[in-house]
């Protein structure tokens, strides 16, 4: 399922899914689970495209979302802060797909939406401050190339 949207549009769709009734979610649970995964992929595609990269079509462990995360994290350690968020999204997708008739399906879908929303907020935030600096505490130093060139012992 290819989705071409902005982060705001994706967030709006996620909000819509959260607001949906259980009956609406359960009416097409496997499709909603697939949509969630596709929205996650779309979020990462936005990040990669903004950085001049072509989003990969490959998969990791059977999922393109994980391959896209790996692509985004290459040379960008702070991107790993959403590593488990992506894996949780896959996990919730799998739970729904494997047992759509489970009494927990609506709840699982809702939690999956919240996980996807965190991914959208994280990537959206990173994009927003891209001109200001790194987002994550465990990230590489700000403007690493300049930092390497100018690294001095300041004491």
């Amino acid at each position: 399922m290819a989705i071409s949207r902005t982060i705001d549009e994706i967030t709006a769709r996620l909000d819509q899914m959260i607001a949906a009734s259980d009956a609406e979610l359960l009416a097409a649970a496997p499709e909603r689970a697939n949509e969630l995964l596709a929205l996650g992929e779309a979020i990462l595609e936005i990040w990669l495209s903004a950085h001049g990269q072509t989003p990969t079509a490959r998969t990791v462990e059977g999922f393109r979302l994980l391959a896209l995360h790996r692509q985004g994290a290459r040379g960008e350690p702070s991107f790993n802060a959403c590593r488990e968020t992506c894996r949780e999204l896959v996990y919730h997708h799998n739970l729904v797909r494997l047992d759509p008739a489970s009494p927990d399906t609506a709840r699982r879908l809702r939690l999956g939406v919240m996980v996807a929303r965190h991914l959208a907020l994280f990537i959206g935030g990173k994009l927003e401050v891209a001109g200001l600096g790194e987002f994550c505490c465990s990230s590489r130093p700000l403007r690493q190339r300049e930092a390497t060139a100018q690294a001095t012992e300041t004491v």
């Binding site: 350690p77 894996r87 927003e128 994550c136 012992e153 300041t154």
Partner: protein, 307 residues
């Protein structure tokens, strides 16, 4: 559980002397209640946090290495850092000194200029407060000491992003049964379950809290925190247990800000895991610094028989 961490050096770091004071207090009180000895590093300095690291990473390595050298000089082979940022930076310094000749060189030169022992990789092990309790006391040891069970308390365990990332600086993790997992950490879950708490399956336990974003883009931080809070509530949690002062402060402050700015009120409480364990061992909420938290959990604690 090997019990090798019963007597360790203690590196509180800057946050635990300021906004994370309740974490400092509860960690020390918890150690006392469990008969564990903590000896604070003498004349410790900043770990280099992100400010120094962003400008000159090798200087950050040196700053963290200086703390490790103090531990070594004081005769310790283990230093416990409860703050995720400090823990991460000391681990990173250890990794850099082991694998990077240039870092070793800068560390040697600066240590020599400053006139103290040059720290060499492998001399001191850095552990987190979770490793400390897990190894020195263990789940069975905790169970045996519980006076006020946390039973009936539903907890979402939130580890934040720095406790497990990047993987390569934590070689002891992901080593099979009994070790911590970088993809699905569980030490806090294990300890709180041993104290009687009911852990909920929280899908955002290592997700970003937006901590580093707080000043440059507060709205994004607030939205990230709001999502953490609403997800915890959707999981049925009464409390989010934390083990990082930056995450903890962010959750508390942005919980208030979310209500003020976005009109979104959440009621889940935020407590350090050391506070929860301390109360399970019979310490009063005041003793573990609950009154120093921004998030008022007194009603909940009273209702659960802990306050």
């Amino acid at each position: 559980m090997s019990g090798k961490y019963k007597n360790v050096a203690y590196y509180p770091g800057c946050a635990l002397e300021g906004t994370g004071h309740a974490y400092n207090r509860s960690t020390k009180e918890l150690g006392k209640a469990l008969g564990l000895k903590l000896t604070e590093l003498k004349n410790w300095n900043c770990c280099g946090a992100m400010e120094v690291k962003n400008i000159d990473p090798k200087l950050q390595t040196y700053l963290s290495a200086r703390n490790l050298s103090i531990a070594e000089d004081m005769g310790f082979d283990t230093v416990m850092a409860p703050c995720n940022g400090c823990y991460h930076n000391l681990k990173k310094a250890e990794y850099d000194l082991k694998h990077d000749q240039a870092s070793r060189e800068v560390n040697r030169r600066l240590a020599s200029k400053a006139g103290h022992t040059t720290y060499e990789a492998g001399k001191v092990e850095t552990i987190h407060a979770l490793d400390w309790i897990k190894d020195a006391i263990g789940e069975e040891g905790l169970k045996a000491r519980v006076k006020n069970s946390l039973s009936g308390l539903k907890v979402a365990n939130y580890y934040g992003c720095m406790y497990t990332r990047p993987r390569h600086i934590f070689p002891e993790k992901d080593q099979g049964p009994g070790t911590e997992s970088t993809s699905k950490p569980h030490f806090m879950d294990d300890l709180l379950a041993a104290a009687g708490a009911e852990n909920v399956d929280y899908p955002l336990k290592t997700a970003c809290c937006g901590g580093a974003h707080t000043l440059s883009d507060s709205d994004t931080s607030t939205k990230l925190v709001l999502n953490l809070l609403t997800t915890a509530e959707a999981c049925g949690a009464d409390v989010i247990a934390t083990e990082c002062p930056t995450c903890h402060t962010g959750l508390e402050m942005h919980q208030v800000r979310a209500e003020k700015v976005f009109g979104r009120k959440t009621t889940v409480k935020i407590l350090y895991f050391t506070q929860l364990l301390g109360m399970a061992l019979g310490l009063s909420p005041r003793k573990v610094g609950v009154h120093e938290n921004f998030s008022d959990s007194s009603d909940l604690l009273r209702a659960k028989g802990l306050g």
